[in-house]
Amino acid sequence: MTEQHDDVLVATGITKSFAHVRALRGVDLTLRRGKVHALVGDNGAGKSTLIKILSGALQPDSGEILMEGEPVDIASPETAQHLGIETVYQDLAVAEALDLGENIFLGRELLRRGLLGHFGFVDRPAMRERGMEQMQRLGTKVPSPSLPLESMSGGQKQAVAVARAAMWGGRVLILDEPAAALGVRQTAQVLNLVRRSAEESNQAVVFISHNVPQILEIADDITVLHQGRVCLRCAKADASVDLLVRAMSGALDSPADREGTE
């Protein structure tokens, strides 16, 4: 029983085609509670398609998705949110005009008590306080909870986006290249945050990355996609830079597989 529920999300045999392009050709993916799962692959390998299917933005042509053993149909991004799947995109993650608390609670605002709350008055101090608590819990700091995010660095903004998703994503947190636009130091910040989020919130985290050293640093499990198929699935202990690079470039595909493409 517990074994089964440790696998928060299990996707099997996922296929997806766009016109004549077979983006996914039967992909399996298992996300474990409290673990970081790196989804790796060259451009066009099908990572983004798979992520979009998990976050409800696309529907698979075939295949099955189980969440904690129950089959689910992730029909829309809203359905995904209801199922406890939260996604952080490369950009488009935060509203820069709003402060930390407002961003974290956007769409789920805390209202004041009493009559003012009835009129929709928001409780900014409470949102800031709880937002700061969340940031501290994930081991990151922001200068002041009342500053609009536009006055923060790229890393801090992305940290807020991750903190937001970690706070509301009950079971699965999806990160689509969360550090793509960031510098080295900021990337380290965000990756720490991802790591902490998985451990502290006991969430299953999937993240897409191209950066092999980064993957080896924070992932527990690694899945490498090549041309719409899983070509390598391994635990961190078994992975190396060389192995991942060969897998990403397609060197691990069986000859039969390669004939099947194009």
Binding site: L92, V94, A95, L98, E102, F121, K141, S144, L147, S153
Partner: protein, 373 residues
């Protein structure tokens, strides 16, 4: 100025934050106060500061202020509304037609008898406001459903509503409005303050709270700042967009009703530049055309600057046309200074806090802002 304060003592800014927001209105408020001082000192017998003159400035500003308040919401949400002045005309026509038609027959009206005054006024006020709101709803609906840019949608409804107003009236002003409407709401005063200004102040006060303190206001900023992020966060962006344009139309309807009260007729030929004046007031007050930024306090200041210039120039004996030249210049300069200040604010706020997080505190991005200035 205010940004240094923000870094030094964030907690003490709560009240200021509530009223002016993190960007503040220091510069433009200073300009307004300086104008008032200059006109007071230079006007003959310091007439500028007289109660009578202030009353006249208040009355002149009230209508533009109401439109500018609506424009503030729309612009913060990343939109624009060019149609509001035309909606004022349309609403005033509907209001005037209902008041004139329901209060009395034309024969009774020519004898200044209005047997159904209350009915006529109630229907006129409700009908005028509803007409404006309906046009606003149409703006929002087309923007959301057809994905036509609001600039084009509102340009289109500007023409449609103005044309419709002309068709209804045949291009003539509407006669037969009971003088009681003008004597009370139109030019009446309470404690020396025009009723129109009181109505405007109450409505703008409510809108200020709505924008600064409520969920609706917060989401307005979110939509203008990053509508995709707002949508993903669960904000019903289409619905709120329609509500925002509807609010703008509702305000235009109120201005139309006030107009009938003020001038005792539907002003079919007026308000042709109200839309631009309202947008200018908001922009002078620091509302960004790109969305996400702005405060009601700024818009209020921005709405008074043209009126003060106009009034001051008349008192000083300039041709009043100079006011339009001056307002245009103020608009450009205000937006320019605002942009300069925002850029420098970015760097100054960022510098002390960039050591947040795990590793080295010497961030490179700290220098970006200072290069820009």
């Amino acid at each position: 100025m205010s940004s240094e304060l923000a870094v030094a003592k964030p907690r003490h800014r709560k009240f200021a934050d509530m009223l002016t927001g993190s960007t503040g209105n220091g510069l433009i408020l200073t300009v307004l106060i300086a104008m008032i001082l200059v006109f007071t000192i230079t006007s003959p017998a310091h007439r500028f500061l007289s109660a009578g003159n202030f009353t006249s400035i208040l009355a002149d500003t009230s209508q533009i202020l109401l439109l500018a308040a609506g424009e503030t919401f729309i612009m913060i949400a990343g939109g624009i509304d060019l149609s509001c002045g035309a909606f004022v005309v349309f609403s005033s026509v509907i209001c005037a037609k209902l008041v004139a038609g329901l209060s009395a027959t034309p024969e009774q009206a020519s004898n200044l008898e209005f047997p159904h005054l209350a009915l006529g006024l109630a229907a006129g006020i409700v009908g005028g406001v509803a007409a404006g709101a309906a046009w606003g709803w149409l703006n929002g609906w087309i923007t959301v459903r057809w994905q036509v840019p609001p600039f084009i949608v509102t340009l289109g409804t500007l023409g449609m509503s103005l044309g419709a107003a002309q068709i209804i009236t045949g291009g003539l002003n509407v006669p037969g409005i009971p003088p009681a409407f003008q004597e009370t709401l139109g030019i009446g005063k309470i404690f020396g303050i025009p009723w129109i200004a009181v109505v405007a102040a109450i409505i703008v006060g409510i809108l200020w709270l709505l924008l600064a303190q409520t969920r609706f206001g917060m989401r307005t900023y979110a939509i203008g700042s990053n509508s995709e992020a707002a949508r993903r966060a669960g904000v019903n962006v289409p619905r709120q967009t329609i509500q925002l344009y509807c609010l703008m139309g509702f305000l235009a309807g109120i201005v139309g009703v006030l107009d009938v009260a003020r001038f005792n007729t539907a002003s079919i030929a007026a308000h042709t530049t109200d839309n631009l004046q309202a947008i200018a007031a908001a922009a002078i007050g620091g509302v960004s055309l790109y969305g996400g930024k702005g405060r009601m306090s700024g818009t209020i200041i921005g709405a008074f600057i043209p009126a003060v210039l106009h009034n001051g120039f008349i008192l000083l004996g300039f041709e009043p046309y100079w006011q339009e030249v001056a307002v245009g210049a103020v608009l450009i300069i205000a937006v320019y200074f605002d942009q300069v200040r925002r850029r420098s604010t970015g760097s100054r706020v960022q510098a002390p806090d960039d050591d947040a997080g795990a590793t080295t505190p010497n961030g490179n991005e700290v220098t970006h802002g200072s290069h820009a200035t």
